[in-house]
């Protein structure tokens, strides 16, 4: 019996609706109401197994669902087209999720914990600041990703020679080192940071507002949001495919039992380094575009706390489950902005949340399922 498409489409629509509501409402009570509705829907989905139906339906319609997601993303951007602040948040969410996808590749698949995510974001961002205006913007993004991967490659040998706690220390030390370096290095602007030129593509400068006539003017964040969402969507599809392939299996084997994997010819070190580099490249890419969006980089944005926020997104979303990253990033980025009283308390709140998740639901909010191989029912 063919599986109906509507449960998956409904789930996508509900998700987009919640996101739009959260971005649009301003009043504190309304924000809390949206959250309450979201939580209630989640509980209902779990109790009635609606979530599983939606997942099965999504699996049965591998072409339709991405189209629906893309349409909803575009719809969201159009809905918010005149709201600078909401679009900026949308961009930030998309790019933080992109970076979290990188960490997810490293930690969720290959088992390499990276506590310097923000540092690699910073490599991309500073690349955009230094090279922006000198190179075509697309090349700047690519260079940012490449330099972040290259910076990670410096840690390849230390990471291969160590494991567990020792490897964790290497990334922590690197994160602290880079942040201090940015702070004291005068050519990179020191503590004041640098300005970042905007993104341009074939004569279209993304930093100019889109003016139609005197009454209709779209925010200059519209193209940025579309670009960020498109990058996120494409990367998500690739990461998904990667998981459901021989590569995903090899990475899982390295994570779960590197010794057993080696007995069957798996080169654990090479896979870990490959995952580490690709993950860092995604962080660098996100960082470069984020810097262009905000127009400005400074060391405090790339501190250890920000690396921990990225790790929090990965853990809250469900270790090994990329689908959970977007809602987790949404909560982590948007909530503190919307509940102004919360802004001050956000690191404390995330810390407590992650502690609770690790104690009560160690697999994360949306735990990973078994691999769904292409070609197998």
């Amino acid at each position: 019996m063919p599986v109906a498409a509507w449960p998956a489409l409904a789930a996508v629509a509900i998700g987009a609706g919640l996101a739009a509501a959260l971005l649009l409402v301003h009043h504190k009570a309304a924000v809390l109401a949206v959250l309450a509705v979201g939580a209630a829907l989640l509980v209902v989905a779990q109790r009635t197994r609606a979530g599983e139906r939606a997942a099965a339906s999504a699996a049965a319609h591998p072409r339709l669902v991405p189209v629906a997601v893309a349409a909803c993303g575009l719809g969201l951007v159009m809905l918010l087209r005149e709201d600078n602040f909401a679009l900026l948040m949308l961009c930030t969410v998309a790019l933080q999720t992109l970076a979290a996808l990188g960490l997810h590749l490293q930690f969720g698949y290959a088992g390499v914990a990276n506590f310097a995510g923000a540092a690699f974001l910073g490599v991309g961002a500073y690349t955009a600041a230094v090279l922006g205006g000198h190179l075509p913007s697309v090349l700047v993004l690519v260079t940012g990703a490449g330099l972040a991967a290259l910076a990670g490659l410096l840690l390849a040998l230390p990471l291969l020679r160590t494991r567990g706690h020792y490897a964790a220390l290497i990334t922590i030390a690197f994160g602290l080192l880079l942040r201090t370096f940015l702070e004291v290095n005068d050519t990179l602007g020191g503590p004041q940071g640098l300005k970042v030129p905007g993104f341009t593509l074939g004569g279209l400068a993304f930093n100019d507002a889109i003016v139609f006539d005197e009454d209709t003017e779209w925010s200059f964040y519209v193209p940025y949001a579309v670009l960020a969402l498109a990058l996120l969507g494409a990367t998500h599809v690739l990461v998904r495919r990667l998981e459901r392939s021989w590569i995903g299996l090899a990475l899982d084997a390295v994570r779960v039992d590197e010794t057993a994997a080696a007995a069957f010819g798996v080169n654990g070190g090479a896979w870990k380094i490959a995952a580490f580099c690709v993950g860092n490249a995604l962080c660098g890419l996100a960082g470069a575009l984020l810097a262009m969006v905000t127009g400005f980089v400074a060391p405090p944005s790339f501190a250890f706390g920000d690396s921990l926020v990225l790790v929090s997104i990965v853990i809250l979303g469900g270790i090994g489950n990329p689908l959970g990253l977007l809602p987790a990033a949404f909560l982590v980025v948007v909530l503190p902005e919307k509940l102004q009283g919360l802004q001050e308390y956000r690191f404390l709140l995330f810390a407590v949340l992650v502690i609770l998740v690790l104690r009560l639901r160690p697999g994360g909010l949306l735990p990973r399922r078994l691999r769904r191989w292409p070609g197998l029912p």
């Binding site: 690739l238 495919r241 990667l242 392939s245 021989w246 590569i247 299996l249 090899a250 899982d252 084997a253 779960v256 039992d257 010794t259 057993a260 994997a261 080696a262 007995a263 069957f264 010819g265 798996v266 080169n267 078994l370 691999r371 191989w373 292409p374 070609g375 197998l376 029912p377």
Partner: protein
């Protein structure tokens, strides 16, 4: 096919393997027995590159693989199981079997990320082969290919581990105490399984570490007794079990 001469492994001051001599020919099942700590598992670990070799030589098909890394050993066509099961328990049965095939699988980005139809066809083909292999051991197990490994009972996990080692048609199969932790019924079933292995892969040499003498008696073509990292004696099970030195060192203890 496998020629081991003078193989020595030292851990600090302790000599775990002391000049071991051993040969295994294609198609034979060699039982490796000896008291705890006599160096059986150390031999497997040294052969497959998991512990450093201090001296001696290992030749496989005429090639010198002394102290080669696990990856290279695997590439030569040597597969093994582990004394304490080392399965990927959070993954599916199929995933576990496919790890055994790692060296034959394509890992390029194009095949894996973009040529999805070709990948799906390959996966279907591999799954059919895997079902067929599992069915040799247990028809019921073949139907559980997509289940998580931790849902299986002990005997089936052992079978999956043996199948994972068999899936790439190895030339030498190393089985490290497959009956560990099994009930007598399960052990009897395992003996049938080992016969099935031999029937399916007649050219494969098997070295079997085993404490259960009944298993050795039933399935081995030849036995080698280890004591203090040295070869104590070698021959058919009947001959070996009559040897007075073996009785003193090992069987007498039991």
């Amino acid at each position: 096919m496998l020629e081991v001469s003078g193989l020595t492994v030292r851990f600090g001051g302790l000599t775990a393997l002391d000049g071991l001599q051993l040969r295994a020919a294609a198609g034979e099942l060699l039982g490796l027995i000896g008291p705890n700590g006599s160096g059986k598992t150390t031999f497997f670990n040294a052969l497959t590159g998991f512990v450093p070799v201090s001296g001696g030589q290992v030749r496989f098909d005429g090639k010198d693989i002394t102290g080669a890394a696990p990856r290279r050993v695997a590439a030569c066509g040597i597969a093994r199981t582990f004394q304490r099961l080392r399965l990927l328990s959070e993954l599916s049965v199929f995933d576990n079997l496919m790890l055994g095939l790692h060296l034959d699988l394509p890992h390029g980005p194009w095949v894996n990320l973009f040529a999805r139809r070709r990948l799906a066809a390959a996966v279907r083909e591999r799954a059919a082969e895997a079902r067929e292999l599992l069915a040799v051991f247990s028809p019921a197990l073949a139907g559980r290919l997509a289940e998580p490994l931790r849902a299986l009972p002990m005997i089936d996990r052992r079978r999956v581990e043996i199948c994972r080692a068999l899936v790439r048609a190895p030339r030498l199969l190393l089985l490290d105490e497959p009956s560990a932790g099994m009930t007598p019924d399960e052990t009897a079933a395992l003996m049938d399984d080992l016969h099935a292995v031999k029937a399916r892969r007649p050219g494969t040499a098997v070295i079997l570490i085993e404490h259960d003498m009944a298993v050795i008696e039933r399935v081995s073509d030849r036995c080698l007794v280890l004591d203090y990292g040295r070869r104590l004696c070698e021959g058919s099970f009947a001959a070996v079990s009559r040897d007075p030195e073996v009785r003193r060192a090992y069987l007498g203890e039991a």
